[in-house]
């Protein structure tokens, strides 16, 4: 399908080997390679160039090998651009950059191409709502060159809404967004490229911790951030961590000691254990080695961040980890598990409360702990979140559940609108902007709790057709005017960075409450007919217009206007999106 004329002498290097061809042992399969300065890995999406074709082809690498005559080959599973299958495309595009993955059997599914035909990497994000697909964030989708969630069956020539078990013999999990490079041997990379991966993770430390919890959103996003860097290990461990996060905590123990040198300065993060442990669902005892690796890796970044924790302290803490681990080593009955987690996290918090350097990371430990747990942690060490987010400098913290988040259910509350009116009157109301539009009200409350150590009652502003897709807003009612003003001041003078490089913006809103209005632009009444029965009926009955009436013509004018306004809203938000993107690129920390 793709010809290559005149291969220039571009830089090329094979990466990891996979295995040799079954019968023909001279065929060597590979997992990755570097070509023209770009690292490619199996299941990467790439552009392929064909001479004379204006548009590059789009495909996914599903096999990489070298033949016995030293020819480099790749097998490519194709994506179709809408224009390529316009004859069979009877559905609307869900996204302006939607493409369709080839599926089924027949011509056009996949082809073998010379490796040199690859023209570059392409960022294709899978937006399938399938539970197995790590969900991309809005940012991911915005950054993506293309998105897909449907397939084009090349045999039947129809668009399919579902991605089935296997396509071209490739398991569906390689087709969805990768929560890692998903290489079976990538764990070994930890020891192999230790320094490299460590560095990479260090720069990324802020984000890493959250990955253990297989929060799909985060993972896929983070991966993509990392993608450009040569950090196979990172990707690999993500995946591993995700897959293995159900591993018994006890299995970690024997390896922890082995990892001592690596783990130094790192262990203050041991709450991680509690965290992983907390996924008390179905525990499968997976290889402890993997787990230990993942854990130690996980902790490194935070260790690097903490930095100032010295060796002695960290060793002391190492002990504490062991302790906690030992606690976890009780019989692994599910009922007991919660219990042990609780103990360990309590221990952690009390220990670390005296540890000013370490405190910055403490909130992260509680994130995954379930409600029951939280209460106990909270009553034992009420001072913990009050390490005063404000003072922790540029250290990242993970937003944890506000300890009393359930209290709202204990007492009845005033209806929201009444509270809002009250709060506005007394100056206790704050409007937050630039939130992720997907956040729920409870999450906003949690952010406030973690950032300011203040409780508030928050409610997200419901979006409408005209709302900006780039940011969400929320009202928050604080306990006093002073607190509300303080929050605004702090957010003004400093910056609170939310995920996806969103600095939170706060202001005093001026909401309007009186909703009574009788005038409505667009509904006409002929005065003289007002009293007539027909007119009354026409108005009060909902109906579709008939095409032979004045009403219909006028309705069309409204349609036209709406369509026009849709266009300019779209333009506006596209423009704003571009401006945001341009500015966000300037962030130094990733």
């Amino acid at each position: 399908m793709v010809e290559v004329d005149g291969i220039e002498n571009l830089e090329f290097k094979w990466g990891k080997k996979r295995g040799t061809g079954g019968i023909n042992t001279k065929v060597q399969f590979y997992e990755s390679f570097t070509y023209d300065g770009i690292d490619y890995t199996l299941y990467d999406n790439v552009y392929l160039h064909k001479e004379g074709e204006p548009l590059p082809y789009l495909g996914k690498l599903i096999k990489i090998w070298e033949t016995d005559s030293r020819l480099k080959k790749v097998k490519v599973l194709w994506f179709f651009q809408p224009s390529e299958i316009s004859n069979y495309l009877f559905v609307e595009l869900a996204h302006p950059n939607e493409v369709f993955l080839a599926s089924g059997e027949g011509v056009g599914l996949a082809n073998i191409n010379p490796l040199e035909a690859i023209a570059g990497k392409c960022n294709v994000v899978c937006i399938s709502k399938d539970g197995r697909n790590p969900q991309p964030s809005d940012e991911d989708i915005q950054m993506a060159d293309y998105v897909f969630y449907r397939t084009f069956d090349v045999g039947q020539r129809i668009i399919l809404d579902k991605i089935d078990g296997k396509i071209a013999g490739i398991d569906v999990k390689f087709i969805f967004n990768q929560s890692g490079s998903l290489k079976p041997c990538s764990i070994h990379n930890f020891s192999v490229d230790e320094p490299a991966s460590e560095n990479a993770i260090e720069t990324n430390g802020r984000v890493v911790v959250s990955k253990l919890n297989s929060s799909e959103n985060q993972i896929s996003k983070d991966d993509r951030q990392v993608e450009q860097k040569p950090v196979v290990a990172e990707n690999g461990f993500n995946h591993k961590a995700e897959e293995n996060s159900d591993v018994k905590a006890s299995s970690v123990k024997p390896n922890l000691s082995l990892q001592q040198e690596v783990v130094a300065g790192v262990v203050s993060e041991s709450g991680e254990l509690a965290k992983t442990n907390d996924r008390s669902g179905d525990r499968t005892g997976l290889s402890p080695k993997i787990k230990a690796n993942a854990d130690s890796k996980l902790k490194n970044p935070s260790g690097a961040e903490i930095g100032c924790v010295n060796q002695v302290k960290s060793e002391e803490k190492l002990k504490s980890v062991k302790d906690t681990v030992e606690l976890d080593e009780r019989p692994h009955k599910k009922a007991k598990l919660d219990n042990s987690v609780k103990v360990s996290s309590d221990k952690e918090t009390t220990k670390c409360a005296t540890e000013p350097c370490g405190t910055a990371t403490i909130p992260s430990k509680k994130l995954k702990i379930d409600d029951k747990l939280k209460k106990s942690t909270n009553c034992k060490s009420p001072a913990v979140p009050s390490n005063d987010g404000i003072k922790t400098g540029d250290k990242a913290m993970e937003v944890t559940r506000r300890p009393d988040s359930d209290r709202s259910k204990w007492f009845g509350e005033l209806p929201w609108e009444e509270s809002l009116r009250d709060a506005h009157e007394f100056g206790k109301l704050v409007l937050f902007q630039n939130l992720d539009p997907a956040y729920s009200s409870a999450e906003v409350e949690d952010i406030v709790w973690n950032a300011f150590n203040e409780t508030c009652r928050a409610k997200v502003v419901q979006q409408t057709a005209y709302s900006s897709p780039h940011f969400g807003q929320a009202f928050a009612i604080f306990k006093s005017r002073e607190v509300a003003e303080d929050v605004i001041k702090k957010l003004d003078e400093r910056c609170l960075l939310l995920p996806n490089r969103r600095p939170l913006v706060a202001s005093i809103p001026n909401p309007c409450f009186s909703r009574k209005q009788s005038m409505f632009a667009g509904h006409l009444i002929v005065d003289k007919l007002k009293s007539q029965r027909e007119m009354k009926e026409a108005v009060s009955t909902s109906h579709s217009s008939q095409p032979n009436t004045v009403e219909y013509d006028m309705a069309m004018e409204w349609f036209l206007m709406t369509e026009r306004s849709n266009q300019f809203w779209k333009k506006l938000y596209e423009q704003q999106g571009k401006e945001l993107k341009k500015l966000r690129v300037n962030f130094k920390s990733k």
């Binding site: 799909e216 809002l420 006409l524």
Partner: protein
């Protein structure tokens, strides 16, 4: 626990798919109006008007209408975008779109999402960019507000224009009516030797 939340969120997502977002609704539209209007396309399970605290007061109402089945929601959306549909007044049609999760004020937490936040001091290398971003966000909010105002003005203009047209039309009809009624039309027709066929009544012309 975790799976319970997963289920809760899945149920919410399913509800979103069954829900139609309606806007350009007159302030006179009430829940019962919506229910009666959309009953023909399926069972309306609930109607929630989206409160408008921040936008101009004369913004048309928006509502989330939860249907019983996803298919019914699709039918409502496709019908209402194909044919102008009037609710509590004419001739401005209501608009229907698929609802989005962000439109629901009570949306549950998405399971598994973690939020990491970070304070940036003035000394932080990213402080400047972040501050600029804050400015940009504020500017964008203003732009949105201006755009909205502009749109409302345009809508009012169109409404006024249509009002004039309608009035003029109505005047014409009235004139024709009165001419027919007092026999002037027939007299003139006879004068110019024209046939006037009047469908509305028995012709006395011949």
């Amino acid at each position: 626990m975790e799976s319970g939340k997963q289920n809760e969120y899945a149920a919410f997502e399913e509800k979103v798919r069954r829900t139609v977002y309606l806007d350009n609704l007159s302030p006179n539209v009430t829940e019962s109006v919506v229910r009666t209007a959309l009953d023909q396309y399926g069972t309306v399970k609930s109607v929630e008007f989206i409160p408008n605290y921040l936008e101009p007061r004369n913004m048309p109402q928006c509502a989330l209408v939860e249907m019983e089945k996803e298919k019914q929601a699709k039918v409502v959306i496709s019908t209402l975008s194909e044919f102008p549909f009037m609710m509590s007044g004419m001739p401005r049609p209501v608009r229907a779109r698929a609802a989005l999760a962000e439109m629901f004020g009570d949306r549950p937490r998405k399971p598994g999402r973690q939020i990491r936040i970070r304070w940036l001091d003035t000394a932080d290398p990213d402080f400047k960019v972040a501050s600029k971003l804050k400015q940009l966000v504020k500017r964008h909010a203003t732009e949105t507000a201006v755009m909205l105002k502009h749109q409302l003005e345009k809508e009012e203009k169109l409404a006024k224009q249509q009002g004039e047209t309608l009035k003029a039309n109505y005047k014409k009809y009235e004139m024709i009516d009165s001419l027919m009624a007092d026999g002037a039309a027939r007299r003139l027709a006879r004068c110019y030797n024209l046939r006037v066929s009047d469908d509305s009544g028995p012709s006395t012309f011949h």
